[in-house]
Amino acid sequence: MTTVLILYAALSIAAAICASWLFRRVLVRFSPGNLSEEFATAPLSACFGMLVILIYVLVAALAPLLAPYEPDHIVGGEFLPWSTMHLLGTDNLGRDMLSRLVYGARNTVSIAFLSTAIAFIAGTSLGLLAATVGGWLDQALSRFIDVIITIPGLVFSLLLLTVFGTSISILILVIAVIDSSRVFRLARAVAIDVVAMDYIEAARLRGETLWRLITREILPNATAPLVAEFGLRFCFVFLAISALSFLGVGIQPPTADWGSMVRENAALITFGDITPLLPAGCIAVLTVAVNFVVDWMLHRASGLKE
């Protein structure tokens, strides 16, 4: 059986390489001038990443069309094996596995994305503010964040969930607050370098307001590392939310979500059925894909050429 699995793995890697190569051809052919050149030099890993992200977005957007059944309807017996009726079988309550996987793309990814966005807006604005204003504000914020960071993220979120209870909006906020401390550090570090430049001094002397200084002068020069950080941060948030859902304290049933799907169906693994690994695999593939794209963006931003 192990040989069969290795064969499958080799086949899917080969298919992924072919698909990424084709996707790069499509991108180069159908995108306008500058962008087309960028894509032509993109490594295959980055193309694979972009292709995977595109597929996930499409699946999330078209979930009602793609899913054969409603995600929370009981449509058959419990733990049915793979068949033509239920392509990936059914789960512990008799709900269609494939439909739940498809809707999971919508729920899990959008919750992670929302959480990242909030963390990012909060962390970046505080970080830029601290770097621009400096003085006691910078000191106070930075020292406070230093302490917050020493509490392991997962443990801190478990504590906050104990206090506030487990609901989706609280989950999003808790993860956003914890992760904004990590974003703050990077945003501040990037902005400090920009603030030290002469043109900022000139802008200050011109009498520009704080708002204009941050949004028009500093932010444009800090965008490249921040965009890469957004990708990385998304991976961490996504993994954190999946871990919490897997532990049963994140996204709550009956919402179709990949982390809790692994938990609910884990018993099957000990019988040699790989179905519960599929949602976990969906999480893993998306994080790998985002990492590939971020690697390429960082490589481009740093100006390194092979």
Binding site: T150, V155, L158, F246
Partner: protein, 317 residues
């Protein structure tokens, strides 16, 4: 050496201050809840009498600073309060589990640290070869995978086929050898998760050093590449490597929570997860404080070791 001891003393003081502030944050987490915590925990159906009794039990009739001081002196004396869920002292609940968690983390660290150092040094030595590339791809994959995915893949290949047990049900009477066997899969999962980070950072910090002139000199003398790395690069890379190891042992603390749940291992992580669904605040606070303290201590240890092993700092100009 005078300077070094002063630096270390300062660092220790900073560590203690950090711990103090962390205790303040963890305590005030309960204060952040809008409205009455007693009402929220007991639910809407609770009678006013029960709520009042519960408030007294939590000490909510006193002011927040008084409660913080009481809690802190309690913690210092090993009294962590009573569990809300089963009315047992929190210290009793923790005492039976803390050893298990330390055992599992130490087990994983004992495999992961040497493994990642060897892999890191080898891939720095053979950088840009097929070996280096494949180790790197595997490391990137291990970083991107959720812990439970790694854990269940191991269960699928190693437990389902009967080589290792998929449940690590140990207790105080389990013999050491049997404990090692039963906790092999959880330890291996943790190893895979942290080795990737440590190995990448080891490789990066050694490669950074390899560009320096004194390494060039050593090479020009005709030294073998392995000797250059082991005798010239590693001593200078030790400080960053130790920091990375400590940071990752900190990651291990977070990873241990998920792994303990997957393998039904009676440790602190599982206790914490249980306390979330039961809204058992004293337990969650105590465990969070322990995890944070372990993390701070590891960082402190790393900083001090980094200073001691840094050749530049122990020979002041």
């Amino acid at each position: 050496m005078e300077r070094l001891s002063v630096i270390i003393a300062k660092r220790l003081a900073l560590g203690i201050l950090t711990l103090f502030v962390i205790s303040l944050i963890i305590f005030s987490a309960t204060e952040m809840l809008p409205g009455d915590i007693a009402q929220t925990v007991l639910g809407q159906s609770a009678t006013p009498d029960t709520v009042a009794a519960f408030r007294r039990e939590l000490g909510l009739d006193q002011s927040a600073p008084t409660r913080y001081l009481n809690w802190l002196t309690g913690v210092a004396h090993g009294d962590l309060g009573m569990s809300l869920a089963n009315r047992r002292p929190v210290s009793e609940l923790i005492a039976s589990r803390v050893g298990n968690t330390i055992f599992l983390s130490a087990y994983a660290a004992a495999i992961a640290v040497p493994l990642s150092l060897i892999l890191g040094i080898l891939s720095a030595l053979y950088r840009n070869t097929t070996f280096d590339r494949s180790v790197n791809v595997a490391a990137l994959a291990a970083i991107s995978f959720p812990e439970f995915f790694v854990a269940y893949i191991l269960v699928f290949f190693l437990a389902q086929t009967g080589y290792f047990p998929s449940m690590a049900n140990v207790d105080a009477n389990t013999a050491f050898g049997e404990k090692l066997y039963k906790t092999f899969l959880p330890a291996l999962t943790l190893t895979l998760v942290v080795t990737a980070h440590m190995m990448r950072m080891t490789r990066a910090s050694i490669i950074n050093l390899l560009a320096l002139p004194y390494i060039e000199m050593a090479r020009l003398k005709g030294m073998s590449p392995l000797r250059v790395i082991v005798y010239h690069a590693v001593p200078n890379a030790l400080a960053p490597i130790i920091t990375v190891i400590a940071l990752n042992l900190g990651w291990l603390i977070a990873g241990v929570v998920v792994v303990e749940v997957v393998f039904v291992y009676p440790g602190l992580g599982q206790l914490m997860v249980d306390s979330v669904s039961k809204r058992d605040l004293p337990v969650a606070q105590a465990v969070a404080l322990l995890f944070a303290a372990a993390y701070v201590l590891l960082n402190l240890l790393a900083d001090v070791l980094g200073m001691i092993t840094n050749p530049g700092l122990s020979h002041p100009k």
